[in-house]
Symmetry: C2
Subunit: 94 residues, 2 copies
Amino acid sequence: MFKPLNPLLHSELRLAVMSLLIGVKEAEFSFIKEKTGATSGNLSVQLSKLQEAQYIKIEKSFKDNYPLTKCSITVIGIKAFEEYVEILKSYIKK
Amino acid sequence: MFKPLNPLLHSELRLAVMSLLIGVKEAEFSFIKEKTGATSGNLSVQLSKLQEAQYIKIEKSFKDNYPLTKCSITVIGIKAFEEYVEILKSYIKK
DNA sequence: AATATTTGGTTTATAAAATAAACTAGTTTA
DNA sequence: TAAACTAGTTTATTTTATAAACCAAATATT
């Protein structure tokens, strides 16, 4: 009846990150942090988990001497997000 | 940007329970258990939490000599559920 | 008539997740 | 050159979810 909700996406912060990334080409760590209101530590951990699942791609570089982390959603990530949203809708439409 | 998601409702099982209860007048423990696929223990714990928050009402009685637990959603619960759904939608619509 | 099984749960213990605090490595500013 | 800031990561703590064990009473079995 109630299909399982992908636990990787059923997390407030990771869901916010994915919701954000699905609308943009890429986003910087500090931008995501600001938009989600997350702490650096929490964001760092959650981004790593999303990367591990190959839902996002993380690219590290330097800009003006400072480290710069850019994230973008992958095809796998888009698919997982869309499926999660569909299942979620099936919950709340009852 | 991302409003906080009510943590009491952002739980797979509790969300399923609320989604179920919002559509019916009341439901028995075993019915909820069957529909959600939860174990008795987990369901018992989660129902208690929802009751504590006054999102549901739990009525205990006996039927054919056996204990019978009936649950129903409260006005507070309906309000919380609807607000949660609205915030959730604001996440996934970006 | 014991004893085993089932019902309808609750309680407790364990595993997993989220979050906060502390730390790293380097940069800039005073 | 020392203090403060950037941009994070790692580790520790707290919280949450889940599973396992348990309980009381009822019914079924031998």
